[in-house]
Symmetry: C2
Subunit: 476 residues, 2 copies
Amino acid sequence: MTLYLNLAELLGSRIEQGLYRPGQRLPSVRALSVEHGVSLSTVQQAYRMLEDNGLVSPRPKSGYFVAEDRQLPALPAISRPAQRPVDISQWEQVLELVRSTPHPDVIQLGRGMPDIDSPTLKPLLRSLAQISRRMDMPGLYYDNIHGNVQLREQIARLMLDSGCRLGTADLVVTTGCHEALSCSIRAVCEPGDIVAVDSPSFHGAMQTLKGLGMKALEIPTDPITGISLEALELALEQWPIKLIQITPNCNNPLGYIMPEARKKALLTLAQRYDVAILEDDVYGDLAYTYPRPSTVKSFDDDGRVLLCSSFSKTLAPGLRVGWVAPGRYLERVLHMKYISTGCTACQPQLAIADFIAEGHYQPHLRRMRSQYQRARDQMSDWVTRYFPPGTRASRPQGGFMLWVELPESFDTLRLNRALLEQGVQIAVGSIFSASGKYRNCLRMNFAARPTPQIEAAVRKVGETAMRLLQAELHGG
Amino acid sequence: MTLYLNLAELLGSRIEQGLYRPGQRLPSVRALSVEHGVSLSTVQQAYRMLEDNGLVSPRPKSGYFVAEDRQLPALPAISRPAQRPVDISQWEQVLELVRSTPHPDVIQLGRGMPDIDSPTLKPLLRSLAQISRRMDMPGLYYDNIHGNVQLREQIARLMLDSGCRLGTADLVVTTGCHEALSCSIRAVCEPGDIVAVDSPSFHGAMQTLKGLGMKALEIPTDPITGISLEALELALEQWPIKLIQITPNCNNPLGYIMPEARKKALLTLAQRYDVAILEDDVYGDLAYTYPRPSTVKSFDDDGRVLLCSSFSKTLAPGLRVGWVAPGRYLERVLHMKYISTGCTACQPQLAIADFIAEGHYQPHLRRMRSQYQRARDQMSDWVTRYFPPGTRASRPQGGFMLWVELPESFDTLRLNRALLEQGVQIAVGSIFSASGKYRNCLRMNFAARPTPQIEAAVRKVGETAMRLLQAELHGG
Ligand SMILES: Cc1ncc(COP(=O)(O)O)c(C=O)c1O
Ligand SMILES: Cc1ncc(COP(=O)(O)O)c(C=O)c1O
């Protein structure tokens, strides 16, 4: 099974990278079979999968061709947030989002929920049930403060793919990535310190800076290459920055993967100005290309990178299992972890450790990656079709979030209010900024397999936006 | 089943309160049967239970008598900690304790682990397994930031017994009591603020103050009536105290229950000086008398009490489910909760809600309360028997912790080191002080049903202490 998937991923990434152009003929089934030493039917299966993903199209008697370019929304421009440290606002909007409970009558396009319906996730539920039945009741004890050691072994193994060599003693299990972030920030910074952040940026991280009394300095960020190193360097010259906080892989909300050379350059910059880096890799395993992209942490030779992640996006958020590799800040992070929750719930940790050890993690990832990639294309098409002309949108390289930019004057808070009456929820752009920028933007989740209901919901978003825009034009 | 247990609890508490004196004859089986409208065999069962608990002894042909006073260790004197705000130390000792993992060769008398082997806990494990098998997978979603609403309903019901009228909207579920404490402290205080604490005091709360940059002002505390209100008032006059942090019910480590009048007086004091109260009630449901004691929160009419608790001591700590009723600080606590862990793991919350809703909680508590009470007596006897003459010990009114005080010059850090080689772990006294006092004290857990192994471990503690003391006397 893995053979055709591997081949499909390889071909897919070559197409994505532009090695084959739209309309160009792809290597024949026979040629690929010889080149990769696999059977003809394996190649055919790979091509069929790429066809399902909309990347290639067959032409009778002539073989496979790269699909003609779909009409995609234009990319947002590089962000231009206020370039001075600010106190963070927007808690009311975030609270509204996180107070919401799943509801059958509301299509929640706003939250960071992965698809949990895949059959590849079933062994995890089985594991959870089995642990509850074990006579030694391992789920009921206080855990070691570092977290379960079997789980840490599995995390260390997984992170090899991102280029990191970690031992179990380098890792601390946390209650979701949230706890990894807040322990890390508190381990490095004091209240009042300045933290440089990519922008737009995950609202949870913003609110953590707010709650801990830090100031955020939002750095211009490119929707393809990530945080602007030039702007960051200027900022480092100008301000006493303590920490750089970034999500370089499958960024939330922009979806880019920072090129490796820029990751290295970022680290060099951090070393030159002697600041720490908080790297949030929560979507890193969900990059559409395989092998997964490297982490900044993998180049870190003096322990200044705190790598934070969780299983919330790859498996399920209700488990609340995350982790941090805090480098030279390990002792401080342990103290912060202890006072934050004492230790993390045991049963979910054990179940995840089993799930990975039994080999279920990679097949699950493969399936989700390709599902999300297909759903991304579908969602982009819907935006082209249903949103006002001139709408811009991100081109995610992983994960399941689309960032949409409407005309400058537009207010997505009003849009969200109008949508809630129609049973649709989005995430408003302003929560992704420390200073309430991006009011004309929104983020939509495309994790769930596309259905007519979801299409109808996206259509409502686009059409309601159109209506509000027109009302605006006519002085409404 | 409940009838005889209720009767046993009633008689037991009358004896404990001194209504019947040691050696005194108790009412006849017939008289009690008439008085309480229960069968003769119910009364006999109740007496047999009290006999098991060591509270009564039968004399052939004459009926039941209050057991002769056991020879108990003297109580520790009221504590006299340094009366100025201090920065908190002792993290290394705490880390050593919380880094430890359960190990078959070590008797862990040091940690705050309840007994999880009771058959009355089995339905909880069944619930956990059932939730994993539900088709709608409720354990996998992001929870509402307030926590699961069914669980909050059950908590509100339970807290009626402590005199609190809480609605679900007044409660926030947390990842253990640890998170309840740290969110509460951060909701009220800024770094540098002074917090008044009972002393000795739970090390986790101490370390939280440390990690958040607060100063602790340790207030003299009586081993029977709790924090000295006189000393507290002086301190409130003298220092700009922001918060009073206390564990008035079944205190950790001293085991006292603060009398209700003193709870009310404490609240009046807090109102007069306009400070908030953080009330940790984590052992409140484990008071040996029934109904359980009231909380300070139950008298709170202006929302200044933040009541924190968890199911770690009553059910099992590995579940990591706690909660806070933050009064007027609700909005701030929600923000702190959001940045601390986002939300709490779902499956344990659902399992606990089921366990309580199906009526399993009270029978479990009843059983644990009487087991712990018996174990307390056993542990006190062992201390009398095996510890150096002059050893003092607490007289816990609930929970499963004994506080032991050795001669002034003694150093329990050395004792702990000597014990680890013998496969016994204790909690050293200094971690219960902000300033490293109580070096001559230690805390032992008596949750597990007494066994020869545990007796041997306690004996090792006592005899090793004796040996170290003698070496000291002879200038060693
Ligand atoms: C970039 C990023 N980091 C962290 C998190 C939080 O992850 P967790 O649910 O594991 O706390 C999210 C979830 O929305 C996220 O998008
Ligand atoms: C007084 C007190 N409060 C809080 C806690 C922590 O409880 P949890 O395990 O729910 O975080 C403990 C546990 O040792 C305790 O003794």
